[in-house]
Symmetry: C2
Subunit: 517 residues, 2 copies
């Protein structure tokens, strides 16, 4: 998924110096020189840059390194640099998550990652979930406060990331922000109230490149912030970024992208057509729901293995630190392993006689001890409750039912899907085998599945390396048909069948049936 170096947003150019016979203006001369390279006859630039251009061109003997960008078919010159200066020109990819914001600093000339960083979304102060923040933002002051929280957080993080990479934040010329529709509205200070009221209308679908200074983002003086487009209130730029990273603008064969978080989001199609669908999946897979649920970070359990014979539980934690909690992919692993070891039945209930001393009762509810206190970071048992497990099963059932619905809508079967991209903004990698075992994903050969990790920040980083990017992304957005879920009796029947492990119709999961203890 790498682009050729000739496809970057950095262009070195040498101009013919002006003469009496060619009195074209400085900006016109630069425009003409860039025209064949960029295949355009019009390149806009901010007045602030135009004021500096004549002196810079003369100082550098009519050669310069240009930072350019294109969206909505329009080219823009972001800055001109000393062609001999050797200074890094950087771009910042941002995954604007509701809970966590991830930044990746990219060298615009080479596409290389320079450094990475993540921080908790400071809007949490006004409410941990999207809905609370949107209500808070209905008032103008609330909206302004939320925008200041997130731009302030990003500005601090940009400073940190740049310091780590040994550059100044003024060397960041482009930023690409991928987030869900609500988060990008709050980031831009747009009124969000109509996102959550029928018929759920965003203020904008394709914001394109916005001036950094108008957003309050402190990077280069004429920098642009590309805000990923959405395909409606419930299908946001983070998903479109993931679809772009997965290559939905270039795939001939039918593929699926799934993203599981608070919502189960599915995109199905190829470079000819796309159908999207999203449904509430419950928050089981995001941090903060089960007592020990958290987003990925050191000491967080991201995979679980239970020996089917001894039923011994072994966990892997990020950075191999003592366990503190469990992330979404760890939860899926855990549920799969519990089921395969016979410690949970097909209804998703803990089986006390098999769980043994791993099961304890708190307030009349079964809790499974994932890590005993003696092995945990803080000395307490790390447990998940029956309710946590039920919540996870609702999520997986929602995902499966949506996949069933969307393939049924376009009249294809799971076997027609050539690639199954599994994204997720909750920070770690889902094990497809585990997801199949609990009946969250269909029972297809493992090579069909491609876990993407944080596809949102990766798509944003890809945009920073390809001149075709904004067009490719818009072509994805423009082709999406959003399928409104019709939650009728038929849907509820399918959902109920999917609430079993892996499903009431075991024939759908032939490879799972044989593995269950």
């Amino acid at each position: 998924m790498d682009e050729e170096s000739g496809d970057r947003w950095v262009v070195d150019i040498a101009l013919q110096p002006p003469s009496i016979d060619d009195n074209t203006s400085d900006s016109g001369r630069l425009e003409k020189a860039l025209a064949p390279e960029l295949k355009t006859d019009s390149i806009a630039m901010d007045l602030k840059l135009l004021k500096l251009l004549p002196e810079r061109l003369r100082k550098w003997d009519y050669a310069c390194r240009c930072i350019v960008f294109r969206d909505h078919g329009k080219w823009r010159l972001i800055d001109v640099l000393d062609p001999e200066g050797g200074d890094c020109a950087a771009g910042m990819a941002v995954d604007l998550g509701t809970t966590r914001v991830v930044l990746r600093l990219v060298d615009l000339a080479t596409g290389r990652t320079l450094s990475e960083f993540a921080f908790d979304n400071p809007q949490d102060e006004a409410g941990p979930d999207i809905l609370a923040r949107l209500h808070y933002a209905e008032k103008r002051e609330g909206r302004q406060h939320l925008q200041e929280l997130i731009t302030g957080g990003i500005n601090r993080a940009v400073g940190d990331v740049c310091a780590k990479a040994g550059i100044s934040s003024e060397q960041v010329y482009l930023m690409a922000v991928a987030g869900n529709t609500a988060m990008t509205h709050l980031f831009m200070g747009l009124p969000p109230q109509w996102l959550i009221r029928e018929p759920y209308i965003p203020a904008v679908n394709s914001p394109g490149a916005v001036r950094a200074d108008e957003l309050g983002i402190n990077i280069s003086f004429c920098a642009r912030v590309f805000v990923f487009p959405n395909a409606g209130s419930y299908f946001g730029g983070d998903l479109i970024s993931g679809a772009y990273y997965a290559g939905f603008h270039e795939n001939d064969e039918v593929a699926v992208l799934v993203d599981v978080g608070t919502n189960a989001e599915v995109l199905l199609g190829n470079r000819q057509w796309l159908v999207a669908c999203a449904g509430a999946a419950g928050p089981a897979l995001e941090g903060g729901v089960s007592e020990i649920g958290m987003t990925a970070g050191p000491g967080v359990i991201d995979s679980v293995r239970i020996d089917p014979e001894s039923r011994e539980v072994s966990v892997h934690t990020i950075d191999d630190m003592p366990a503190r909690g469990i992330c979404g992919s760890g939860m899926i692993d855990l549920a799969a392993q519990l089921f395969l070891a016979g410690m949970v039945d097909i209804r998703g209930r803990f089986v006390p006689e098999v769980c043994g001393d791993r099961l304890k009762e708190i307030d009349g509810m079964h809790h499974f001890i994932v890590v005993f206190g003696r092995d945990s970071a803080e000395g307490n048992d790390l447990t998940i409750s029956q309710a946590d497990l039920d919540s996870l099963i609702r999520s997986k059932a929602a995902m499966y039912t949506i996949l069933e619905t969307i393939t049924g809508y376009v009249g294809i079967s799971f076997e027609d899907i050539s690639a199954f991209y599994v994204g997720g903004t909750f920070g770690s990698f889902i094990n497809p085998r585990s997801a199949i075992s609990i009946g969250m994903l269909p029972d297809l050969p493992e090579e069909v599945f491609h876990p993407l990790g944080n596809s949102s920040v990766k798509g944003a980083a890809r945009l920073l390396s390809s001149r075709q990017a904004a067009e490719d992304i818009e072509s994805i957005r423009g082709r999406i048909t959003y399928l409104e879920l019709n939650v009728n009796q038929d849907f509820m029947n399918r959902f109920s069948a999917a609430r079993f492990l892996p499903h009431t119709d075991a024939a759908r999961f032939p490879t799972v049936a044989g593995a269950v203890k």
Copy 2:
């Protein structure tokens, strides 16, 4: 030269309200509705406007009056207004003269002129002529000061013009500024030093539409200021505005536009090709040179008649007020009448025996009394000196020689010219008959000549009434070949011959020869 009303920058539009089946965003919905009308699929808008759009659309039941603009092929939504509000949406045309700034307020919906205003360019404080100001502007503080002087002056004038028309300056959504290349550079705060050093390179040729707030112009919050393009340091936006007003983008036949001020500027061609030429003409035709020279205004002499028998001098003043001075067109009239009455000879010398008591000597130089003190506004004789007359003759000779040069360059004769547009930013109308009599313009039938008055402000006003304007203007600019005057011996010979009244070769002016007393 009027456009159809369907061609305005104001578009009334009614949208299909959103529904579950059509969840396009508010801005996308508006874009789609405007698309067939504007024949584009992309319309940009400022973030400031986008923030207000959702509430406004809902308040007005998905109908609105849109103010749009297009330049460099790109459409922009400037504002959305209440479709039932009935408020005027206005545009401001500005002729940005070195000496005098002229404003014309236009109703964008009808194209009607609402009011007019003129004021002296306050940059005069830093120097009366262009060169002094450009030197002052080489330092950043000087540049900033000059920009503040002119934008401050325009802001005050906008307030006055709007008050006269009974609207607020926030109802001005578009401004169109036509000025020479130096004046527009100073207006935009661009470094002007390379305009006046070989090879005379502007910072920009086609600035297009700039944000009003970035220029310090206080009109509507997302307003754009269209700055007319130039075809080099010596062929500015005022002339291109005049050429647009005269219709050089649509003429099949070959026409000429001449503009006489400090420079004699000539444009020759049709909608296929254009050649431009400019040469120093001396400042004789602008205010402030001869002691009584001034730009048009009440009490300024704009035409002169001398009875060839009695040699009685009668003058016409603007608004019929007592005479205070004389403007450029008055000077040309005066020189023509003096020559035709035999009071000036073919060398341009006052003939004392014919001038009689109208001639007096001051500091050893002849001065001709145009208005005796008893009839003047301030009780003093209004006189022009032999030096003033010499200066005018140099100007007219420059104009004629340039016309000879440019027609010779493209290989046509004066008779091939179907229309001769006479512009002038010095505020009044040149009488073509007088200009022929002194040999400034060629001896062609009077119906060929079309005096335009202030064609710069008129072209700017025309832009405010036509959606095709920016493209038409750019098509004029793009076709101009600038002919650098080669001031060689041949040119000097032709110039010397043209310094006689009307010319050494009297056969070129058959209709003048017979009229001289």
